[in-house]
């Protein structure tokens, strides 16, 4: 007897009728309540609470916002329009805490530098002006030109225009991930899951929510890759049109951010190679990957020409990361093989490559830290399943995202060292693009059916993705960055009190812009941005600040040669250690933290300094004859 062919189960057919009214009400209510709780958490934190209550409220709110949205992308058989709307809401949800953190002023160090660059470009219409806060920003003005154009048209302030733009960047990044995943998997559901996984990545909510060149470069990179991946399946005019779009967007990326444009060139190169081997291996008809290779080469050439023509010190700037990474790798290998001493450049380098305890001195709640460890094996399992499912049927684009995702797991051991950690964190923005797509394939495959087991797996996946959000917050956003609260010396996020901002405004009124100011790194950021003060780069500031006695005559001569006109001292140098570990730069010598009281009080007895302004914590000294 011939067996009747059972048609494949159609996933949850009743959902095709759309969501029922109670479900819609529950989702809207949950998101509304979640938003309210997140706002409440920020309010609690701003009151200077020392406990962890605001963390609990924050996470209750975040789960109430994210869980229904992830439920929608995982479970429902939404039409493409609904799915894109959910992905856009995920982008907004991811940006929301960063917006509430500082809705009306630049806050983080990088943000201050880019805000200043845009303000200056708006005022002068002159490109490539030196920027002493974020030195590379002057060579990559893509974000600043975009902002000043819209600012001139709309009359909005730089901060308001920047906020509108960062919202757009967030939405478009996730839609770009959706497009890449859709072309790789040919499945809108998996594409939605990939966007959701990227929305909970470490850098996306906070670091890429800053008004900074990287925040614009990420959607440009994602869409340049998405256009190239879309071109693969096309022929003739459509393929050429996609390649043109990839090129134009890639070109904008080149003038916007150094590292992202180089990563883009490498990814496009890998895409061309993977497509070449995949086509040869699978004997697939269609156009070759030559145009993608040409695009990668062209963008690479333009990126090099741009850096050379502007004399941008890209190699010096970016070279630090591979150097520290290699030193770290040597350290890890030596430790693993039971070897002896690590051979490094100097004492400071050795210190930076020494293994460090994760979350050392962290104020984050225990459950966040715990989850940040637990999510790594879970991500690896989902990644492995996705890889296994796609190994035979997928082409060059799949292997490209798989390699990109693999880079995430390779970078994980680097986090164990202070030297390798910043570099590893930076790569996650890029590697998560691949990780999100492959993990989404794993989650999509596990949760596709309509049986009891699959329903349970769906709930596990929702919990899993929300946990990834929590774990990634723990690994990428520290307490000072995330919440407002009392001043924390040497931090990024809690070092910009009204007292300092008012002082810089007074400074502009009385002394003018563009003066040379010597101060610790974080205080300088305020003067560099609000007063456009110049940074005496070559002068080792610690030679003046660290000793308990007045500086030697040789140092005074160097100080005058550097053209330093003002010295600004924060008296908390003697009461609080810098949260980020450095007072001036990573080149400074190791020192007792906080500095001795005499290191700060000595400035009043130095004959060539005259105090011109005292506030509660800051003193501005003018260099006599400076």
């Amino acid at each position: 007897m011939e067996r009747a062919r059972v048609p494949p189960s159609v996933f949850a057919p009743r959902l095709r009728r759309g969501l029922r009214r109670p479900a819609v009400l529950a989702i809207v209510g949950s998101i509304g309540l979640g938003i309210g709780l997140v706002v409440l958490a920020y309010h609690e934190a701003s009151l200077g609470q020392t406990g962890l209550r605001h963390y609990h409220i924050f996470w209750a709110g975040m789960w109430l916002v994210f869980a229904p949205l992830i439920w929608l992308v995982i479970r429902t058989d939404l039409a493409i329009r609904g799915r894109l709307a959910v992905v856009s809401l995920l982008g907004l949800a991811a940006y929301f805490p960063r917006f509430v953190r500082a809705p009306s002023m630049p806050l983080m160090y990088d943000e201050l530098g880019h805000w200043e660059a845009t303000e200056r470009l708006f005022r002068t219409s002159k490109l490539f002006q030196p920027n002493d806060v974020v030195k590379m920003a002057s060579y990559f003005p893509g974000l600043h030109t975009l902002t000043v154009g819209l600012r001139e048209l709309t009359g909005l302030s730089t901060v308001r225009t920047g906020t509108v733009l960062v919202v757009c960047f967030h939405l478009l990044t996730l839609l770009g991930i959706f497009q890449i995943a859709r072309k790789v998997t040919h499945d809108d559901r998996m594409a939605g899951i990939a966007a959701a996984v990227y929305a909970v990545s470490p850098s996306f909510p906070f670091f890429d929510g800053m008004y900074a060149y990287e925040s614009f470069a990420i959607p440009l990179m994602v869409w340049s890759i998405a256009a190239a991946v879309s071109a693969i399946a096309e022929r003739g005019t459509t393929r050429r049109a996609w390649m043109v779009i990839s090129g134009v967007i890639g070109l904008t990326c080149v003038i916007t951010h150094h590292l992202t444009s180089y990563v883009l060139v490498v990814v496009l190169g890998i895409l061309a190679l993977c497509q070449f081997f995949s086509k040869r291996h699978r004997h697939v008809a269609g156009e070759g990957p030559g145009d993608i290779a040409l695009l990668a080469g062209g963008l690479g050439g333009v990126a090099v020409c741009w850096a050379v023509a502007l004399h941008a010190p890209v190699i010096t700037y970016l070279g630090v990361f591979p150097q520290q990474g290699l030193a770290t790798l040597r350290q890890l290998v030596t430790k693993a093989t039971g070897g002896g001493q690590v051979v490094s450049g100097g004492a400071a380098a050795q210190e930076r490559t020494a293994l460090r305890p994760l979350f050392g001195g962290s104020r984050l709640p225990h459950y966040e830290r715990l989850i940040s460890f637990a999510i790594q094996p879970a991500l690896f399992v989902a990644f492995a399943i996705g890889l296994w499912k796609g190994r035979k049927t997928r082409g060059g684009a799949f292997w490209t995202v798989a390699l990109l995702g693999l880079a995430y797991f390779i970078s994980l051991p680097m986090v164990l060292t202070p030297g390798g950690s910043p570099g590893a964190h930076r790569t996650w923005t890029y590697s998560y693009i691949g990780l999100a797509v492959v993990v989404a394939m794993g989650i999509g495959a596990l949760t596709k059916g309509s049986g009891k087991r699959h329903r349970a797996l769906r709930w596990i996946a929702i919990l899993g993705v929300c946990s990834v959000l929590m774990g990634n917050y723990a690994s990428a956003v520290n307490d000072s960055e995330r919440f407002p609260g009392p001043f924390v010396f040497g931090s990024d996020g809690r070092n910009m009190p009204t007292e300092l901002v008012d002082l810089t405004k007074w400074f502009v009124q009385t002394e003018g812009r563009g003066r040379v100011v010597l101060s610790d790194l974080r205080t300088y950021a305020a003067f560099g941005s609000y007063a456009e003060a110049k940074d005496p780069v070559s002068f080792p500031g610690w030679e003046v600040f660290f000793p308990v006695t007045p500086p030697r005559p040789q140092i005074v001569a160097e100080l005058r040669d550097a053209g330093i006109q003002f010295v600004v001292v924060d008296d908390r140098l003697a009461t609080e250690p810098p949260e980020r570990g450095t007072y001036f730069s990573s080149f400074e010598p190791g020192v007792e933290e906080p500095l001795p009281e005499a290191s700060v009080s000595k400035f009043d007895s130095i004959s060539w300094l005259r105090a011109i302004r005292h506030t509660e914590h800051y003193t501005v000294y003018q260099v006599i004859g400076g």
């Binding site: 219409s125 002159k126 490109l127 048209l153 009359g155 478009l172 459509t238 134009v248």
Partner: protein, 117 residues
């Protein structure tokens, strides 16, 4: 209903008028026209040339809008043009009317059938 070309001209006119309105009218009108206009125009172009019939076309349009503002302003500033409202309105007009023209022009018959003698 308005034709696509008339809508494009309408967006540019709204931006021209809006740019000289008092706040907050200026901000509201110009942000919608300045970002929405080019997004819509490039989206139309994408729908026509990439046969992209779903809403992702607007996302591609939005990316091209951002790229046009960024690259366009860079070029204008590089050639020494000072920032001014008429300058950015001109750039906006080009970013809307250019793609609208590309999206609505008739394909010439001889391009497919061969140029007539």
């Amino acid at each position: 209903m308005f034709s696509t070309r008339k809508t494009g001209i309408g967006i540019v006119l709204a931006a021209v008028i809006g740019a000289w309105l008092p706040e907050p009218g200026r901000a509201i009108v110009t942000i919608v026209a300045g970002m929405g206009g080019p997004t819509w125009a490039f989206g139309l172009l994408v729908r026509r040339y990439l046969s992209m019939n779903d809403d992702m076309a607007w996302a591609v349009g939005a990316m091209l809008m951002l790229a046009t503002w960024s690259l366009g302003m860079l070029l204008l500033l590089l050639v020494g043009i000072h920032l001014a409202r008429p300058v950015v309105v001109m750039l906006l007009a080009a970013a809307v009317l250019g793609p609208v023209h590309g999206a609505t022009r008739e394909r010439l018959v001889w391009m497919r059938a061969g140029k007539p003698e």
